[in-house]
């Protein structure tokens, strides 16, 4: 405390005041940027918002040549691919995090943790490239098999080409495993050691210790981790643009059909839109929608994490 007040005393000198002001300005830039991004893009998207109104998110007819900009199918595709990704990635990530924090000795857990983190270092364009030339040929026979044997379930019927909602979901799952498992690892580490030890001392097996001591305390943190993964999946662009087929206006329960997502559609149609101002504004409007969705997801996740951090 004395140090702090000494610091305040010194701060009154002009050079110090200037330095502090500069630092505060730089800190504020983060906030100014976020607000500026929302305002500037909304402004550029305004022609599309006023042309299509709420239809830009509720209407399912995206025909730029007819000046119809209903982006419902992109929102649908974004949610479907992200949910497939979460379905696959969440159990795997939580189990990885449990193994690295609760089971594996540090000698193994540390290098293994680096390797799992490496999945996050692979750029999305490489995921896309690999997805098209390796994953699609690998998954196509599996999807075809599912389609012909479980085709009575609408989800699996009507196989098209191997570039579809399901394939995009698989690549997204790979891409969000590192973020979910990294946050889960942080969360599991905050569980006090004496709670683990009491469970073990009472004769619990390792799994029972996890179920009794680790998981109940970690639930909010795991929820936040899942939401952060969801936010990543929703905003992922290039890998999905490679693998989803890029077909607008597909709101279908069939996972083996081509479709599109908000982010992928912006990337894929951006060149076409150059000559049509309203088309361009509509793509920017899709970007604004994407930004608002991911902003809300991330704010919610960070609030949960912050509250958890305070409680611990």
């Amino acid at each position: 405390m004395t140090v702090l007040s000494a610091g305040r005393l010194v701060t009154r000198r002009p050079a110090d005041a200037l330095f502090r002001f500069t630092a505060a300005t730089c800190a504020s830039i983060v906030l100014i940027l976020l607000a500026g991004m929302l305002i500037r893009t909304t402004w550029s998207a305004w022609p599309a918002f006023s042309h299509s109104g709420i239809g830009i998110v509720t209407s399912n007819s995206w025909n730029p040549n007819l000046l119809q900009f209903g982006g419902l199918s992109f929102i649908y595709g974004t949610l479907v691919t992200s949910f497939i990704a979460l379905l696959l990635a969440v159990p795997v990530s939580v189990l990885i995090a449990l193994f690295l924090t609760e089971i594996a000795p540090a000698r193994i857990a540390t290098p293994l943790g680096y390797v799992v983190d490496l999945l996050a270092a692979v750029p999305s364009v490489v995921y896309g490239l690999w997805g098209v030339f390796v994953l699609v040929p690998f998954l196509t026979p599996i999807w075809q098999w599912l389609s012909s044997n479980l085709g009575f379930i609408p989800l699996f019927s009507q196989f098209s080409s191997g570039r579809d909602f399901a394939t995009a979901g698989v690549i997204l799952a790979l891409m969000i495993v590192p973020i979910i498992s990294a946050v889960c690892r942080e969360v599991f580490r905050t569980v006090p050691a004496d709670e683990r030890e009491s469970a073990l001392a009472l004769g619990a097996t390792r799994w029972e210790m996890i179920r009794l001591a680790v998981l109940p305390r970690s639930r909010p943190g795991v929820v936040a981790a899942v939401m952060l993964g969801f936010g990543r999946a929703v905003g992922e662009t290039i890998a999905v643009a490679y693998l989803i087929g890029g077909v607008p206006n597909k709101v279908t329960p069939h996972l083996f059909q081509q479709g599109s997502t908000i982010a992928a559609n912006i990337a894929l149609q951006f060149n076409e839109a150059a000559s049509l101002p309203l088309f361009k504004a509509a793509l920017i409007a899709l970007g604004v929608v994407l930004f608002v969705i991911t902003l809300l997801i991330n704010i919610a996740a960070r609030l949960i994490i912050r509250r958890g951090g305070r409680a611990a």
Binding site: V3, G7, V10, A15, D16, L18, F19, R20, A23, C26, A27, S28, I29, V30, L31, L33, L34, M37, R40, T41, S44, S93, L95, I96, F99, L100, I103, L112, V115, V116, L118, L119, A121, V122, P123, V125, V126, Y127, L129, W130, V132, V134, L174, S181, T205, W207, R232, G235, T237, I238, A263, I266, A267, I284, L290, T294, N298, A301, R302, R306
Partner: protein, 285 residues
């Protein structure tokens, strides 16, 4: 006794499931790396880093020299913009009023900002710069990368600054050194390895970005001069993207080599970043 057997069996099954999960995550990574090396190494040569793509789409040879140069230029611009702002912001968060309202809000939104889709940052720079200057440009691309790097640098630098022992601050202030002098000559040098790690990791992340550059730098088959920043320019990622979507084997082959170069670059940056941290940990012990 049978319940005990059942409990232990259940324990083994769950631990087994965890091992399977680790394998499930690592196998695709191994395949990605193996495929990129196998398909990319054939065309790898010194000229790949300097030659532009051939004009004829079906022709082999040439390289991603334009993209390598563009990536270096734009990542460098992003770094030059984001590092001073990010580090100074971190100084505010850690050294001045860390529990105050501004610091709390900035810290929170810097975290939130790391989750903003990179394509949206591309859209923003497109509306703010490309639309106003009426041209795609290298500096628009570099600024987009800088915006993406900023929150990462703020948060990692703050972590590094917080690890500086309070006794160092107290010692310096007790000697009558002014606060800004203390920060510049005592605290920042002490935190330098940690800050460097954060900067290197954010550079690695920026070098792998495609979507924001698509909307700002746009891409270009031609080599653009080091000093020319006002027109469209390629990046390694953009060249991988466009070449891999081509039906011609020569272009697809170049895309794989580009991916190999990109991954090697990113891995080197990540390893150096870890080495910087490891060295500091070793020294303090």
């Amino acid at each position: 006794m049978s319940t005990l057997v059942r409990r232990h069996r259940r324990d083994r099954i769950m631990v087994g499931a965890m091992v399977v999960a680790v394998v499930v995550a690592i196998v695709p990574l191994a395949f990605i790396l193996a495929d990129v090396i196998a398909k990319g190494i054939g065309q790898l040569s010194a000229s790949f880093f300097t030659q532009p793509e051939p004009f004829v789409a079906t022709a082999s040879g040439g390289g991603f020299g334009a993209g390598v140069r563009g990536t270096i230029k734009m990542v460098a611009l992003g770094t030059v913009v984001a590092v001073p702002i990010g580090v100074l912001a971190a100084v505010y968060l850690s050294e001045y009023d860390p529990r105050g309202p501004l610091a709390t809000v900035v810290r929170f939104f810097a975290d939130v900002m790391t989750g903003i889709p990179s394509i949206f940052v591309g859209i923003f720079v497109f509306t703010a710069i490309v639309l106003t200057t009426h041209s795609f440009s290298s500096w628009a691309g570099g600024l987009a990368l800088g915006i993406l790097m900023l929150p990462v640098i703020v948060r990692t630098s703050e972590e590094a600054l917080r690890l500086v022992p309070g006794t160092l601050r107290e010692a310096s202030l007790a000697l009558g050194v002014r606060r800004w002098r203390t920060i510049v000559s005592v605290i920042l040098p002490t935190a330098l390895p940690g800050i460097t790690t954060g900067v290197l990791l954010s550079i690695a992340r920026a070098a792998g970005e495609t979507a924001p550059l698509l909307l700002t730098a746009f891409g270009n088959q031609l080599l653009v001069g080091w000093g020319n920043w006002n027109g469209p320019e390629a990046s390694l990622t953009l060249e991988i993207f466009t070449n891999s979507r081509s039906p011609f084997p020569a272009q697809q082959a170049r895309a794989w080599t580009g991916a190999l170069v990109l991954i090697i670059g990113i891995l080197i940056l990540s390893l150096v970043a870890r080495a910087v941290v490891a060295r500091r940990a070793g020294r303090s012990r």
